[in-house]
């Protein structure tokens, strides 16, 4: 089966979800681009958008339409050549509308899973529940006569487990997009010893068509991205817990969030990132990962406590941030949750005190956005982190410890065989998490 044949009938499971809708968008655009090639004229491309939620599917079309418009507006020069033989399409506006129509025309939203029985390629982006994934995939495969290939977007469930239990020997691989898939450049690709060479080659061609960077990760729960993030988050939670001996919980959260953002030159602090991912999602992923860890425990009492309190973070369907550890106004954190009073305490009430406790920022600090553009990153970071290590201020100490812990997590991912090498770990954190420097470095030795 050629690349084109494989991608002529595709299904996305969980298509109305955060990840599923992004995968659907990218796949729809790729399929539309193929269908517009002269040699593919007359062929029918079908992309089933399958989801349990009618409401979710109803919201899909406006999302895809708006996103495809943005893509088309940026590619009008090329689209004019694609539609060069269409005498009726003259203006940019007409060409853009036609392209949006052609992409949407491929997508078939439905709640009926049976349509996937005819697909040759199936993307799975349902919730992070191993039993559910196995159940759905086995049902489809038992009824699908195409020897279909299955791409799962799981960020934590071992692929061999799905392969065994759903009886998909050699026909499933992990194709883990980062959130949001339409924007994030990174895809982690996870194979099992049985995965066919053809399938890996297809995955690589498909990723390239989507302009994604792929990093191979070994089939160990959490892979590289969550392997680092879950442990990094746990470290943030444990440091905040230690600080809460001297400070209130909201103060401790504020301080660790600040240290992880400003001192580690990251796009957001660790508590904001945990809210972004969702406290519920974190708990779920930790539960999936933990049974596979022999020498450590991937679990947080604080996360359990917040879940019991119903404080979950995550995002609204509009993409706006829900309140979690922190409360947000116009996307920016402004207060931290106090479990003892079950209310948010404004940063304004304690920021001054906490900033004073953290002490002076080490010399040579650089903000994240500016750091990304630096040409002499290594020199700037070496200088800044050297000053951080020398400083006795509380903030500097917490920052240096955090950097060292992140480094250790990265190295362990290599020694555990999750990542092939340190470079792959760094690529994942640089491209999937937008860090300004890779966790495996010598800055914090």
């Amino acid at each position: 089966m050629t690349y084109e044949e494989r991608i002529q009938n595709v299904s996305v499971l969980g298509a109305a979800g955060k990840m599923g809708s992004g995968i659907l968008l990218l796949t729809a655009v790729e399929m539309a681009n193929l269908s517009l090639k002269p040699e593919n004229k007359g062929k029918t491309f079908v992309l089933n958008a399958i989801d349990l939620s009618d409401e979710g599917l109803a919201g899909l079309r406006p999302y895809i339409q708006a996103q495809v418009r943005k893509i088309a507006e940026k590619q009008t020069v090329w689209l004019r050549s694609v539609y060069a033989d269409r005498a009726d399409l003259i203006q940019n506006g007409e060409i853009i509308e036609q392209y949006i129509f052609d992409v949407l025309n491929i997508i078939r939203p439905t709640t009926a899973m049976e349509v996937a029985y005819r697909s040759s390629l199936i993307f799975e982006a349902v919730s992070e529940n191993p039993e559910l994934k196995v159940k759905i995939l086995s049902q489809i495969d038992q009824n699908n006569k195409n020897q279909a290939w299955y791409f799962t977007n799981t960020s934590s469930v071992p692929i061999h487990l799905i392969e065994d239990k759903a009886n998909l020997t050699g026909r499933v691989l992990g194709f883990h997009f980062y959130n949001p898939p339409a924007v994030q450049k990174l895809v982690e690709v996870i194979t099992t010893p049985n995965t066919s060479k053809e399938m890996v080659e297809f995955a690589s061609a498909y990723a390239k068509a989507l302009r994604k960077i792929t990093v191979p990760a070994n089939d160990i729960a959490g892979f590289i991205g969550n392997g680092h993030f879950m442990r990094d988050g746990l470290h943030g939670l444990s440091e905040a817990t230690k600080l809460s001996a001297q400070f209130s919980w909201p103060e401790a959260v504020y301080m660790m969030n600040k240290v992880t953002q400003d001192y580690l030159v990251r796009p957001m602090g660790i508590f904001q990132l945990m809210d972004y991912v969702g406290i519920d999602v974190m708990q779920f992923i930790m539960k999936v990962m933990n049974p596979y860890m022999s020498d450590e425990t991937i679990h947080s009492d604080v996360i359990d406590q917040f879940m019991e309190l119903g404080v979950k973070g995550g995002q609204m369907s509009s993409g706006a941030q829900k309140d979690g550890f922190l409360k947000y106004e116009k996307g920016k954190p402004v207060a931290a949750y106090d479990p003892s009073t079950k209310s948010y305490i404004s940063f304004a009430d304690f920021a001054e005190k906490c900033d004073a406790a953290l002490g002076a920022m080490p010399d040579g600090a650089v903000v994240w956005k500016a750091a990304l553009r630096l040409k002499n990153k290594e020199e700037v970071f070496s200088n800044f982190f050297a000053n951080m290590k020398k400083s006795d201020a509380l903030g500097a100490k917490l920052g240096a410890q955090y950097g060292a812990r992140s480094n250790a997590i990265g190295q362990k991912l290599v020694s555990d065989g999750v990542a092939a090498n340190a470079e792959d770990v760094n690529t994942v954190m640089l491209t999937g998490f937008f860090h300004a420097f890779g966790p495996v470095n010598t800055y914090f030795d």
Partner: protein, 407 residues
């Protein structure tokens, strides 16, 4: 002509421009520029006999036609008086001027309010390109570039590179951009007034054109930006000047003008020459008996840097193929042999398409009467004349006008 007024040219580059926020509409620009003119004359709108507005595409950018009906919004005294709107693409502004000049010459009016306006940040650039493409022959639109006019002038630049020398041409084009920025920084109404780039020349010269994302032979610095603005000026007879209480020295005399059009349905025969512009220039010099050596400053229609360089050649300032060197040598800078576009031109001040022709006249009026503020250049006695060249489409609707301070 007298009592000129320009609004700011709003668009990317201005600090107050935010594409996500609501901005002034066509109405606000017309009111500001119109009242800005009327406040400078005795009797205000009561002294005005008729009005004329140059506009290109309000019907598409603003979903608005029947523009003459907006004049009474500027001032109630303009109601129930004659008004016209004229359209000749980016040459609409000078058509507004010429329409006013003709009314005065025909003695059907003593005082004419001539305006030009365009508000085009209402749509994204990719759709704006469709609207601006109406300045070309629509039957050519299908085979044209997504960015139609940049595509047309990119072809002209490509032909120039091919026929002469790409690097010399690009040096001239980069210097053109540098001059535009230098001059715009001196005029608070200019779109590039807030530009602080330390090396505009290097910025343009080092930016290689990329046909995959834009056009083959021009970079973004070679192009005028998308602008919202309006300009206005009074065109009056000597009687009219008395009526509005303006001394002759505060006005410019229209010494001559040439109005020329080229067949829009035919492609240019020679891409490295702006034939209609050249014809208009020759005509206005022949009519007035003046030569280029007597011109102290010129506003040329640099919708693209290459159009500026080709106009320098059409003016006879340099031989064909050497306009780029003339510009690169600094001869068109504000202290050069012939200062061109002293408030930034279309690339630096801005290009509110249908308003540009009037803006050019306002700049020349300011320069010749000593009202150009920080952008003022010295006008020497042996070169007392100013000139504007306004172009609609790809060398299609042209007006060349020569001015001199009143005495």
């Amino acid at each position: 002509m007298t009592a000129g007024y320009n609004t700011i040219s709003l668009g990317t580059g201005r600090k107050e421009f935010n594409p996500r926020k609501e901005r002034p509409g066509l109405e606000e620009y017309l009111v500001e520029a119109g009242q800005g003119v009327l406040q400078q004359i005795e009797g205000g709108a009561k002294s005005v006999d008729e009005s004329v507005l140059g506009n290109f595409m309000a019907a598409h950018f603003n979903h608005q036609g029947n523009l003459p009906g907006f004049f009474p919004m500027i001032d109630k005294e303009l109601e129930f008086k004659p008004a016209t709107s004229v359209e000749g693409a980016c040459g609409s502004g000078s058509l507004s001027l010429v329409s006013g000049i003709k009314s005065v010459l025909a003695e059907s009016a003593e005082v004419v309010l001539s305006m030009g306006a365009e508000v085009q940040n209402t749509v994204k650039a990719i759709y704006g390109a469709d609207i601006l493409a109406y300045a070309g022959w629509f039957k050519n639109r299908k085979k044209g570039h997504a960015y139609f006019f940049p595509g047309q002038f990119s072809d002209r630049a490509g032909a120039y590179f091919e026929k002469y020398d790409r690097d010399r041409a690009r040096k001239g084009m980069a210097q053109w951009y540098a001059n535009a920025i230098e001059n715009a920084r001196l005029d608070p109404t200019a779109q590039e007034y807030h530009n602080t780039h330390p090396d505009p020349y290097g910025l343009s010269y080092k930016s290689e054109p990329n046909g995959k994302v834009f056009v083959d032979h021009l970079n973004y610095m070679d192009c005028s930006k998308v602008s919202d603005a309006a300009s206005g000026i009074i065109i009056a007879s000597e009687e009219g000047l008395k009526r509005i209480g303006i001394a002759k020295k505060d006005a410019v005399e229209v010494v001559g003008y040439a109005q020329v059009i080229r067949n829009i349905t035919e492609d240019p025969t020679e891409l490295t020459e702006l034939k209609a512009i050249k014809t208009a220039i020759q005509k206005v010099f022949a009519d007035t008996g003046l030569t280029i050596d007597q011109i102290g400053t010129i506003e040329v229609h640099d919708c693209f840097s290459i159009a500026g360089i080709l106009t320098v050649e059409a003016l006879g300032l340099a031989k064909p193929g050497e306009g780029c060197d003339f510009v690169a040598a600094g001869h068109t800078k504000r202290d050069g042999i012939i200062p061109i576009n002293t408030t930034g031109g279309l690339i630096g001040w801005g290009h509110p398409t249908g308003g540009t022709g009037v803006h050019q006249a306002v700049t020349i009026w300011q320069q010749l009467t000593g009202k150009a503020g920080d952008a003022q250049i010295k006008i020497s006695a042996d070169k007392p004349y100013g000139m504007t060249i306004n172009m609609g489409g790809d060398d299609v609707t042209i007006n060349a006008i020569i001015y001199k301070q009143g005495e």
